[in-house]
Symmetry: none
Subunit: 162 residues, 2 copies
DNA sequence: TATTTTCCCATGATATCCCATGATTTCCCG
DNA sequence: CGGGAAATCATGGGATATCATGGGAAAATA
């Protein structure tokens, strides 16, 4: 498999180390990146993690803006300046920096959440809250979709709209 | 890794020396440039630092303007004229010149900020302010981008509604 | 000669390496 | 199908290496 899927929660040890889930390590190994590339999420108290695939994503985001433009340097500052490359030790563990832990509110446990090309790390409590919220949102969106859809015969005239 | 990433703050010692973060030194070593090429930023109270990769970037910027044009010589003057090559001692430290320290407002501590191809040095207080601003800006820009995107079918006309 | 610059070594704190352990899980062979 | 051996995995801890920083002395500069 070459995607990050599922979620795991591991403990931080006394030295601040935490094991990356084995299945995630397998994806990283295939990706070929040395270490773990991480940066704080722009829209949640979580940290985005990955390898070359994530780096490519950032490059694409940067490429949207002209070189030397103010937007470009803002992105560069906010993304590269806030990123880190964590070393993965021989047992598959990383040490989370203080700034990462503070940003995500992590103290003793870490949740790893697969996101396909990348994964996120969360403080477990915050993650569960966020997860429930996402679930509810999806439910609502599906309801809206269903009410728009009217089957193979094409949209029905009447109740199709809100 | 061959990019400057993350941020570090180190102290100037009594002799005006400051350690370049080890991970940045590793990138510089790979780049192959002897010493550290620096020049004041064109739009912030910061100093741009790097090696051959940074020089290449400057060449590209100059190439945007016609040879012997006034703009070109202005850029060339502003960039190369104000640039320096700092020596890196055997412990990975540099001595910042007076003009650099004055330009950036540096007194006792220096923040090193990764920007991919290059890195910047800042007075820590100024940097934090600038960083927060960049982050907010990026958040706003991203919101604008997201509202333009409407899925594989292309942008929806108008009433896409919340 | 006086002052600054460069080289080299010392040190404490932190990060990294390497091995151990117990709990599952997977595998294999009867 | 079933049960025991082997492999995998998260976690823990001691030993070692790396890093930022400080300072002395040689070398260069004025």
């Amino acid at each position: 498999m070459d995607r990050f899927v599922s979620q795991f929660t591991n403990r931080l040890d006394a030295k601040g180390r935490v094991s990356i889930p084995a299945s995630f390590r397998a994806v990283l190994a295939r990706d070929g990146f040395e270490g773990l590339f991480v940066h704080p999420s722009l829209d949640a108290p979580a940290v985005e993690c990955g390898g070359n695939a994530l780096l490519r994503e950032i490059d694409q985001l940067l490429a949207l803006h002209a070189p030397y433009s103010e937007e470009r340097s803002s992105f560069s500052m906010a993304l590269f300046g806030a990123s880190e490359i964590l070393k993965i030790d021989s047992d598959g563990r990383v040490v989370l920096s203080e700034s990462i832990k503070e940003f995500a509110g992590i103290t003793s446990e870490v949740s790893f959440v697969g996101q396909g090309e990348k994964f996120q790390i969360w403080e477990p409590g915050r993650f569960h809250a966020h997860f429930e919220e996402a679930r509810n949102r999806v439910r609502d969106l599906r309801k809206q979709l269903n009410s728009l859809y009217a089957g193979p015969g094409g949209p029905r005239s009447q109740g199709a709209r809100e």
